[in-house]
Amino acid sequence: MVETERLAFRFPGEERDVLTDITLRLKDGRTLITGASGSGKSTLFALFNRLYPDNCDGIVTGRLHLFGRSYATYRPGEVNRRVGTVFQDPDSQFVMQTVEEELIFTLENFSVARSEMMDRVSAILHELHLSDYRHRTIHDLSGGEKQQIAVACALIGCPEWLLLDEPLSHLDPATARRFVRWLDKSARNVNIVVIEHRPYMWGDFFDRHLELVNGRIAGDGSFVVQPDYTFTPIETTRGTNILFQIPKVNHKKFQLAASKIAVGPGDVIAILGRNGSGKSTWLKSLARHHREVGLVPQSPAHLFVTSDVSRELAYGHNRSIEDMLARLGLERLRDAHPLSLSHGQKRRLAIGVMLLSGKQLLAFDEPTAGQDEASLRALHALMAERVRAGQTVLFVTHDLSFARAASTYYLMGDGNLSGPYDASIWDDSDLLRAHGLLTEAF
C-alpha cells in the first residue's frame, strides 16, 4: 500500500525534521508501529491517509507512493476510500448523534447510492456483531463501544487498509482485550496497521513490527510477542495511620457507597477498577472532603488558573516558591505559560502547586493513560521521590503493570470500595477478574 524511499517530513516553520530517511514498504497483513511520544508515529500515519501534508502545509521530501501512485496525484478524500482510520480519543471522532447516522455519514461521503445505504448499514453491523447498537446515541456509549463504532464507521466504506492510532489507550484491560479479540475475529478481509505504546495488550495479533526512534526506523522485522514494561514496588516506610472517611455519593446514574481508607505517610496506594466503576468520582469526593488531599487530574492542565509558572506556584499563599521551582526542575520555565509545558512538566507543576498549598496526600487520577515508557518511568521516579520526602501517594488506575508500583491496594467495583489488600492481590485472579482486571498474559 505504502512505498517510501528516503522520505523526510518537516512542519512549516520548524528546523528539525519529524521524520527522516524513512524507507519502507507496507505489505499486506497486520503491522505494528511502536515508538516513544514524539517519535513521529502519528505523523507517519497522517502521511499514510494523506491528512498530511495538505492540512499542515508540511514539507515532504523523498518518495511517497500510495497504492502505486505518488501522494501528490491524489485529490483530497480520494485515498480515504481505500484507507480507513480510527483515532485515539473516542470522544472526538464522531459527527452525528446516533450510530446509524454516523455510519450513513461515511456512505454519503463516498457518494453511495441512497437505495444501497440501509443494506450496507445492516450488513456491516451484522458482520461486526453490533446490530444492537444501531439506534443508540453515541454520546451514551462507553469508551470501548465508541471505539468499536469507530471501526465500523471506517470499515463500512470497504477500505483495503485500516489504520488504528492507539485505540486502546482509554480502555481498561478487560475492555481492551475484548476489543482486540473482536477486531481479530471481525476484520479478516482488511490489512491493519496499529500504533501502540503497549503492544502486550494485542497478544499475537501482528505479523510485522516497525519501530520508530526520533523519526527514523530503528527496527523492522516480524512481530514477536513481548511482555509489558515492569515496575518495581516503591519502597515505603509507613508511619501512623490517618483515617479518611468518604461519604456516600448519589449520582443520577449510579451510587457510590460510603467508604474509608487508612493512610500512613510514606505510603503508595493504588485504587483499581474498570472504566465506569466510580474510581474517579470517589477520588474527587476524597479530595473535596479532605483538605490534606491534593488531586492531580488526568489532564493536569485543568488545575491551572494563572498565565505563568511562577504565579501558578504562588497562587493562594505567601510561602516562597524558589525552593519548589528548583526541586521540581522548573526554574528555566518560570515565565512560561502553564499550558505550553509538556505533559510531564505540567504534572510536575501540578505537584508543586499541591505541595505548596500544604497537601500531604498526592492523589493522581489515571496518570498513565496514553503515556509512553519514558513518561511512565518518569512518573514512577517522581512518585518514589515524593514518598521518600514523606508524602503519601495515591493513584487511581486500570493499568495493572504500573499498579505494581504500589504497596497497598483497594478495589472499586460498582461504587463499592473494598480493601486494603497487599501484593498478594496479584495471585487472586478470581477477585481481579470480578473487577474487570485480568492478569494472565496472552
Binding site: L51, G84, F87, S92, V95, M96, K284, L303
Partner: protein, 245 residues
C-alpha cells in the same frame, strides 16, 4: 398536513416574510389578527405541547406588557382626545393605539417564531437548508458537530470548575462562578480547538471533503408546503385588510 412535516426552509422563509411585513404595519389590528390567526393555525395543523408553548411565552408576554406600560407612561406628547391620566401624564387616544400596536407586534413576532421553533427539528432544518437553499455541506456539518460539541464542552467546564474549587478558588455562589469565567476561557478554548482539530481530521479521514456527496435524509418539497405557506400568507393578507380598513 402539519407544520412538523412542512419543509423547514419554506417554513422559515414564510415566517420571515410575515415578520418583515408586520414591521411595516402601524395599527393594532394587524398584529392582533396575526396573533390569534397563528394560534388557530397552530392548533389545527400541529400538535405542539401547549404547556411548553406557554412557558416560552412568559418572558415575551412580560416584554409585551413592559412595552405597553412604558409607551403609555413615557410616550411622546400626542394630540387627540385625552382618554385617561396616569401619574399626572395625560394619555391620549393616539398614545393608547401606539402602545397597543407595539406590544401586539411583540406578541405576533413571538407566536410566529414559536410556530417555527416548536415545530422544526434542527437537524431537518439544516438538511433542508443544504438541499433547498444550497447551504455548503462544510457549514452544515460544522453545525452538526456543534450539536455534539456543546455537551462535551459543558462537561469540560464542569471539570474545570471542580478542579479550580479544589485549588481554593472561591466558588460558593453563582456570582463567584460568573466572576471566574474569564480565567476559564483560555483553558476551555485551548481544549475546544484541539478537539475541533481532531474532529476535522477524523471527518476528512472518513472521506468528507465538502463536495460530491450523496444524501440519505431527503427533505422533500411537496404541495402541502405551499398550501401551508399560502394559508399563512392569506392570514397576513386578511390582517392587513382588517388593519387598514
Amino acid at each position: 398536513m402539519t407544520f412538523h412535516e412542512m419543509n423547514p426552509t419554506i417554513k422559515f422563509l414564510t415566517v420571515t416574510c410575515l415578520m418583515f411585513g408586520l414591521a411595516f404595519m402601524y395599527n393594532p389590528w394587524t398584529p392582533l389578527v396575526v396573533f390569534f390567526g397563528t394560534l388557530v393555525l397552530q392548533f389545527i395543523f400541529s400538535d405542539v405541547s401547549w404547556k411548553r408553548w406557554g412557558l416560552f411565552m412568559i418572558p415575551f408576554l412580560l416584554t409585551a406588557l413592559g412595552t405597553l406600560w412604558t409607551t403609555l407612561v413615557f410616550g411622546r406628547e400626542a394630540s387627540g382626545q385625552v382618554v385617561f391620566s396616569l401619574f399626572g401624564n395625560d394619555v391620549t387616544e393616539e398614545n393608547v393605539l401606539w402602545a397597543a400596536t407595539l406590544s401586539l407586534r411583540v406578541l405576533a413576532f413571538t407566536v410566529l417564531s414559536l410556530l417555527f421553533t416548536l415545530t422544526t427539528d434542527p437537524k431537518r432544518f439544516v438538511y433542508s437548508l443544504m438541499q433547498q437553499a444550497r447551504l455548503s455541506p462544510n457549514i452544515a456539518y460544522s453545525v452538526f458537530v456543534g450539536f455534539r460539541f456543546f455537551p462535551i464542552l459543558k462537561i469540560e467546564l464542569m471539570q474545570l470548575y471542580e478542579t479550580h474549587a479544589l485549588r481554593g478558588v472561591r466558588l460558593d455562589t453563582r456570582i463567584d462562578h460568573v466572576r471566574h469565567i474569564p480565567k476559564l476561557l483560555i483553558p476551555l478554548l485551548a481544549g475546544a480547538i484541539r478537539q475541533a482539530e481532531r474532529i476535522a481530521f477524523s471527518m476528512e479521514a472518513r472521506g468528507f471533503t465538502g463536495e460530491h456527496r450523496s444524501t440519505y435524509e431527503v427533505i422533500p418539497v411537496t404541495r402541502n408546503d405551499f398550501l401551508l405557506a399560502s394559508l399563512l400568507f392569506t392570514l397576513f393578507g386578511v390582517s392587513v385588510w382588517i388593519g387598514v380598513r
